[in-house]
């Protein structure tokens, strides 16, 4: 049986990891730990859920969104800063598990467990997010896109822990979508997922396009080919089909208990199509609305003359 220790300061946790790192299992929400028990050499279950320094959502000194490692998925979904500046992250967090899981599971835990199917990872890669890692010797930042070396494998050293996620704020009108395919709509683990984030420009154009996929490779995968196709181009069903094809070509999925490689490859393209077609429909509606307003204004102007 493991032993249990609750520490309330980040300094104490870092000290403990420095001395005993390989024997510690960090416990935040526990939603993964209690499903899949950690390796037996992890004899100390170290409760970090009361470290105030790891909690909260706000802006950091550089004006980036800071999401503490202990923020649970539902907290992320509901936070006004996330809604305004990182909508994609909110969409991804909202798709995780059930309300029961989202109320308990933390963003830091989702990142640290390094599941290839983790829903928050494609979103954070699209948003250009970094993870701040803390150890006794000091802190460092690693882009989420460089955090993973394989399924369940990260670049974290045994003496390090995730302190927070930092997301640069992207100004301007955003288009974002997060789509996942699972066994059913709610409460399921992704067979495949796609995230897209971009800025909207007039003429149904997207710029600063970022696309990433989950569960179709050993780690989260950006899709530069799809981004290049979409960048600055007028969105159309044909262009969307080409971008979806780029996702299919980039996927490197496996067969496992949740799905087959063939299905994953096919569905990941369909997911991007679905998301982009919805975005296109929204943009068209917005343009029609704007055109209607312009016309009404012109008509009023004439009336006055």
């Amino acid at each position: 049986m493991p032993s249990f220790l609750s520490l309330t300061s980040l300094e104490d946790v870092a000290e403990m990891l420095w001395a005993e790192g390989p024997t510690c299992a960090l416990v935040a929400g526990g939603t993964d730990l209690l499903v899949r028990a950690p390796r037996p050499e992890r004899t100390l279950w170290l409760d970090i859920s009361r470290c105030a320094e790891l909690a909260g959502i706000g802006l950091d000194a550089q004006g980036r969104l800071r999401v503490g490692a202990l923020a649970c998925h539902q907290e992320v979904v509901e936070h006004p800063l996330v809604r305004r500046h990182a909508r994609l992250l909110g969409l991804a967090c909202a798709s995780v598990g059930s309300l029961q899981i989202r109320n308990r599971g933390t963003l830091g835990g989702n990142l640290g467990n390094a599941s290839p199917a983790a829903d928050t990872l494609p979103a954070l890669v699209c948003l250009g997010a970094s993870v701040r890692l803390v150890a006794r010797q000091g802190a460092r930042e690693v882009p989420v896109s460089e955090l993973y070396t394989g399924p369940g494998q990260t670049v974290l050293r045994p003496d390090e822990l995730i302190e927070s996620v930092r997301v640069p704020l992207r100004r301007g009108r955003a288009a974002a979508c997060f789509k996942k395919a699972g066994q059913r709509k709610g409460m399921c683990c992704s067979k495949a997922s796609v995230a897209l984030d971009a800025r909207v420009r007039p003429g149904l154009r997207l710029v600063d396009v970022r696309v990433a996929m989950g569960a179709v490779a050993p780690t989260v995968l950006g899709v530069p080919a799809a981004e290049a196709l979409l960048e600055g181009q007028r969105l159309s069903p044909r262009l969307i089909a080409q971008a979806a094809e780029a996702c299919v070509a980039a996927a490197r999925p496996i067969d496992d208990l949740r799905s087959s490689a063939g299905y994953r490859r096919a569905v990941v393209g369909a997911l991007l199509s679905e998301g982009l077609l919805e975005i296109l429909e929204r943009l068209r509606r917005a343009e029609r609305r704007a055109e209607g307003l312009r016309r009404a204004r012109r008509a009023r102007g004439r009336g006055r003359r």
Binding site: F4, G29, T31, V35, W45, Q100, R104, G186
Partner: protein, 161 residues
Amino acid sequence: MAVSVNLKLNGAACRFEVEPDERLVETVREKAGLTGTKLGCGVGECGACSVLLDGKLVCACLVLAAQADGCEVFTVEGLAPGGRLSDLQRAFVEEGAVQCGYCTPGMLMAAEALLRRHKRPTGEQIRQGLAGNLCRCTGYTKIVAAVRKVAKRRAARGGRR
């Protein structure tokens, strides 16, 4: 090595000695004797063990009991103090939202959490609010009807139960 845990369980201050890897559902059922909370899948998939932890809906099978020290835990027994059913529970009975009954305590807690957040939930919000709770008997329709009914009744009474 056991860990001492203080809980406010349905309003009453309690103290338990728990094992380091003990789950809250075990503490509630085995140590507090509150067997209304059911253990179904044990891995957070079915929602039968749903309770409110500091007001938030959680699966008690995925909460380490030792981590709940100092927290308020609200179980299905708390809905019916003195055995008097709440309006939510009465609506479940009236609508036939109970068949085998195993999912019912979790469903009630999820519905309670939903109605605390949304006074007038839409059909979609009700289904979303119950998405973490599996029922293999009713097909959900009558459960959704029961939640809608109680929301409507509470609204008609100006939010009072």
